[in-house]
């Protein structure tokens, strides 16, 4: 480990490099790019939840004046279902090719069946209406309990479960010890079943792209995503254009939260551009975003935990059914793999089931699957603690995972910071403060919960160049959705010993920087700090060599300090320091440009833990729960830019509060989303939330040069359980389904009153 001490820039709340552009409206998001001769693409979407496509007749649309191209699944490369998986990251291209354009069947309302490019958006929309699709409407199911019924209409006939066609597309299990034996030792056993609704990532910027295909096939994509390399690779695979001919330029991104780790529009727009010979722009409406892009899974989980009187957990069993939507691939890995991980449980079985149903294909959402699983596990933890008459945080401390604990999903933990988060929560001013009383007609309660997320490493590339005037330009390959530019600038300024303002950090496009994997898994600062550190170290080495050459001494006799080369000691020689600026000016004569790039498949990412404390106040007449105080504690490894880390914690909590209280996909009787907009899909607004307090615990990752751990996903994991336990604490009523919306809380309160009266 090579931890920088006495930092000047690491740990500073420097001004964010993208801040000025964003607050002044100058930032270029995906829909802000235009080109001469540009035309507009629109998608025709299935009105049915499930239908065989007998035929598509596009002839009338093609004849409409202004229409320049029409695309159907015939124009998209097919990855046959029976030829085996073709994986790109976690995505199987067999599903991706069918998700961007339905082939034989439409699998959810909103599933693209054709697309048109025309001189105006209105003509393109008009032309979509002229496309005749002959559908054979099929029975459908959306909810898990319907989709797993033996007689359910099956989305993918080839998919077999226990020998028969089924919507259950996969099972995953993590096992440790023997749960049957374990539960025998338990004095208290609690088993509960929970359901959650699909919720959308809710990014403000809809999916959008502008794509130009030149006559020689050279393709340029401007779009907003969580990975320009993912955009390039998927577009290449789905259109047949080689990656070397596709330049994917990342726009500033207006939110993703996992939902922009796959493509929807780019392959379609590429084919429209190729066929029409014109640049094609596509921008989804909010309704399209809500209907056709991935909300996370709805779920049904059963969790059983057994503990001895002294509070030791002896066994636990979790079964997590998650909706995958139209194609296999729900985040069961996060649900089954993360939920029990904060605890050292000798006998454990954690199972996940992947269930297809007629709703849009699930997309990643912040710690995919983990918040769903943690909601169930942490609520049962609260009940077990109550049954044992233990403080819920003490109960967690008693069973906390620590260095040496073997997690059911595989690793034996190195030094981790879970215990520190529980202790910090226990010692927080929040946990010590009395709940207090609200106005008449209200009740207050407090809840706690913990959570874990794997975090990730993977491929990253960076280039650090010294400009001719002695400043620094750093290029990395990851869209910045959580502050990576600011973090990288802090690190570079620190290593090079120069003012932060002299470091400019940019995101390269696919043809100007080496392969860099998605912005996802809370991996970006972990991975890019590694390649940037190694690049900066190479640059420093060059700078020392240059100074040594000028002074005519050995490079080993030169040290780099405070932005300048110095002789290591007076013995090495008496020289005035050579600053970065001076060395840059002398570069042409002394060996040429100064810069270095490093590309790595980074390893050594440590998981992250958080513990949250939540206070609610409930209007008992109306059933409205409001979060009035919230503290998020997290082991953040090393906060390179504390402001951004806190922003991640607060953002995760805000999303979790929405998920807990009001957000949900509502389907009508025809299987269509009934609330495809922000009026009726109720994400929290600012005034719904208190100031969210953050306590950053720093247990540095020893395998990272700056001690970085991912921080972006953990903060969503504990939230719903913390809110649910707080509501229980206030009302004495446990809710086993989300969202805990006013009609639901009100009905439960009324039922209680009725019961008491009887």
């Amino acid at each position: 480990m090579n931890l920088v001490t006495n930092n000047k820039w690491i740990g500073q709340r420097t001004i964010r490099p993208d801040g000025m552009d964003k607050v002044t409206g100058r930032a270029q998001f995906a829909a802000d790019t235009t080109m001469p001769g540009m035309i507009w693409g629109k998608v025709l979407r299935s009105p049915h939840p499930h239908a065989r496509i007998r035929s598509i007749d596009t002839s009338k649309a093609e004849k409409l004046p202004g229409v320049k191209a029409v695309v159907t699944s015939k124009d998209i490369v097919d990855f046959p279902i029976d030829k085996g998986a073709v994986m790109l990251g976690i995505q199987d291209m067999r599903w991706m090719c069918r998700n961007v354009m339905a082939r034989d069947k439409a699998l959810f309302p909103g599933h693209p069946v054709a697309a048109v490019a025309a001189t105006t958006e209105a003509i393109a929309a008009e032309a979509c209406k002229l496309i005749e699709v002959d559908y054979e409407v099929l029975p459908w199911s959306i909810e898990i309990e319907d989709a797993i019924k033996p007689d359910a209409s099956v989305l993918h006939e080839f998919n077999k479960w226990e020998g028969k066609p089924s919507n259950i597309a996969g099972r995953l299990e993590h096992k440790k010890g023997d749960i049957a034996e374990g539960f025998k030792q338990a004095d208290v056993v609690i088993e509960r079943t929970f359901t959650t609704r699909p919720v959308h990532q809710g990014y403000i910027e809809p999916h959008a792209c502008l794509i130009s295909v030149a006559p020689d096939g050279k393709t340029t994509i401007w779009s907003s995503s969580q990975g320009q390399f993912m955009v390039r690779a998927m577009t290449s695979m789905l259109t047949g254009i080689p990656q070397s001919d596709i330049r994917a330029i990342p726009a500033e991104i207006g939110g993703g939260f996992g939902g922009k780790t796959i493509v929807y529009l780019e392959p379609v727009a590429t084919m429209l551009a190729k066929k029409s010979g014109r640049p094609v722009k596509m921008v989804m409406t909010r309704e399209e975003v809500m209907r056709a892009t991935g909300p996370t899974s709805g779920s049904r989980s059963t969790v059983k935990i057994g503990a001895k009187k002294d509070g030791t957990i002896v066994a636990a069993h979790g079964t997590f059914y998650l909706q995958a939507g139209a194609f296999p691939g729900s985040p069961i890995r996060g649900a089954a793999g993360c939920s029990f991980t904060p605890y050292d449980i000798p006998n454990l079985l954690s199972e996940g089931f992947d269930v297809c149903s007629n709703r849009s294909k699930v997309a990643a959402y912040r710690a995919p699957g983990a918040p769903i699983g943690a909601y169930a596990v942490e609520c049962v933890m609260d009940e077990v603690a109550e049954a044992l008459k233990m403080d819920p945080l003490d109960f967690r401390l008693k069973n906390a995972a620590k260095e040496g604990t073997k997690a059911a999903h595989g690793p034996t933990f190195p030094r981790i910071g879970y215990i520190e988060t529980v202790e910090a929560a226990k010692n927080s001013p929040h946990y010590a403060a009395p709940l207090g009383k609200g106005p008449a007609g209200t009740l207050r309660g407090r809840g706690v919960a913990s959570g874990f997320w794997f975090n990730a490493g993977g491929e990253s590339s960076a280039q650090v160049n010294i400009t001719e005037d002695g400043n620094v330009v750093v290029t990395t390959g990851h869209p910045d959705i959580g502050g990576s530019r600011a973090g990288i600038a802090n690190i570079c300024a620190e290593l090079l010993g120069i003012d932060y303002k002299r470091v400019s950090v940019i995101i390269g496009d696919t043809q100007t920087i080496g392969f860099s994997n998605l912005t996802g898994g809370s991996r970006v600062l972990f991975a890019s700090a590694m390649v940037v550190t190694q690049s900066a170290e190479k640059v420093i080495q060059t700078l020392r060599e240059r100074a040594a050459k000028i002074w005519n001494i050995d490079p080993e006799a030169v040290k780099w300090d405070q932005g300048a080369a110095h002789p290591v000691s007076p013995n090495a020689g008496q020289f005035e320091p050579l600053t970065l600026k001076e060395l840059a000016e002398k570069a042409p004569a002394m060996g040429g440009p100064i810069g270095a790039g490093v590309q790595l498949n980074t390893a050594g990412a440590d998981g992250g833990f958080g513990t949250h404390v939540c206070d609610v106040e409930i209007d008992t007449d109306l059933g409205i729960a409001r979060v009035i105080r919230y503290t998020a504690v997290q082991d953040v490894g090393r906060a390179i830019h504390p402001g951004y880390v806190e922003g991640q914690l607060q953002g995760g909590v805000a999303q979790g509060i929405g998920w807990a209280l009001n957000e949900e996909y509502i389907y009508n009787k025809d299987g269509k989303v009934d609330n495809p907009g922000f009026l009726d899909y109720r994400m929290p607004v600012c005034s719904d939330l208190p100031m969210i307090d953050c306590i950053m615990v720093e247990v540095p990752n020893p395998k990272h040069p700056q001690g970085v751990k991912g921080v972006g996903e953990v903060p969503l994991v504990p939230v719903m359980a913390a809110v649910a336990s707080a509501i229980y604490n206030a009302l004495g009523i446990r809710f086993y389904s989300l969202p805990m919306s006013p009609p639901k809380i009100s009905a439960a309160l009324d039922a209680n009153v009725k019961q008491a009266a009887e």
Binding site: E287, P684, P742, P743
Partner: protein, 289 residues
């Protein structure tokens, strides 16, 4: 794909002429906070838009010598908020109007648009009903007056005749000891649509309620005047029994639907709860306590 003609006449007569001439393809534009949203989503596709904000009478706010108010149908929420007297006399009506949207929306949204949009959940409508507002409408056949509660005909529909424009709201003068209030239930704290909305206007003399009107929104195809609720309050000291009777009248008046915004049971219950809360606020204001 047809083009849209935009007209911004300076006089009401001109506006009525243009509006009537264009027939069913025409739409009046006040703040546009409903109309433009509906046009963007493709729900309405007007051929002619008649902007009425350039007509002085449509945006005027006038207090009569007797304490009555006449407000132009297109006066913005913010203009009403900034008026030195309006909010003092009609705090509940102002509350209803100012709850619409956000600061940005307030700069444009008007009570006329809120009423004419025909949403059963429009926030200013129950307060206007409670206030006993009379609207003036003008069309090719001249002017006429209607009670505000007689304007809505159902979701998205009104009882105005083709070619008629809503000109103004008249809020009557009231004796001292009068005030009003508006409350709505929304799951969030703002930027949401009422699950239930209630306006209460009342007069209190020597501790006794001498006049009361209750307007109820979002629980039936149109906002309603709940006469029985007003009657239950009149003659009482707003004691628990009277409040419960008025709450029951509100619950009985509800004809809601189960939908994504709330269940039938929840809406009915909430109507009763809000009646009590709104009455308490109006009474406090009326008695200056």
């Amino acid at each position: 794909m047809a083009d849209i003609r935009y007209l911004a006449p300076q006089s009401l007569d001109e506006a009525i002429g243009a509006f009537a001439a264009a027939g069913s393809a025409a739409r009046i534009l006040a703040g546009g906070t409903d109309l433009l949203v509906q046009m963007r989503s493709g729900v309405v596709k007007p051929g002619v838009i008649v902007d009425i904000k350039k007509i002085a009478e449509m945006t005027a706010i006038k207090e009569g010598a007797d304490g009555s108010f006449v407000i132009g149908a297109a006066a913005s929420g913010m203009a009403l908020y900034e008026h030195p007297r309006f909010g003092k006399v009609w705090p509940g009506v102002l509350e209803g109007i100012n709850l619409i949207g956000s600061k940005q929306v307030q700069g444009r949204a008007s009570p006329g648009g809120n009423l004419m949009n025909g949403s059963p959940a429009g926030d200013s409508v129950p307060a206007m009903i409670a206030a006993g507002a009379i609207v003036t409408v003008q069309g090719p056949n001249g002017r006429r007056e209607l009670k505000v509660e007689d304007v809505p005909a159902g979701p998205g529909r009104t009882n105005l005749k083709p070619g008629e424009i809503l000109v103004s709201f008249k809020l009557p003068s009231r004796p001292s000891g009068s005030s009003d209030a508006y409350l709505r239930m929304i799951p969030r704290t703002e930027m949401d649509i009422a699950v239930v909305g209630i306006g209460v206007s009342l007069t209190i003399k020597d501790g006794v309620c001498t006049a009361a009107r209750v307007g109820l929104g979002a629980v039936a195809p149109t906002a309603l005047l709940v006469e029985a609720a007003g009657k239950a309050l009149v003659g009482s000291k707003l004691d628990d029994a009277a409040l419960e009777k008025a709450a029951e009248a509100c619950r009985a008046a509800c004809r809601p639907i189960d939908d994504k915004r709330g269940t039938i049971a929840y809406r009915i219950k909430t109507a009763g709860v809000l009646l009590k809360r709104t009455t308490a606020i109006a009474a406090k204001r009326a008695t200056g306590k």
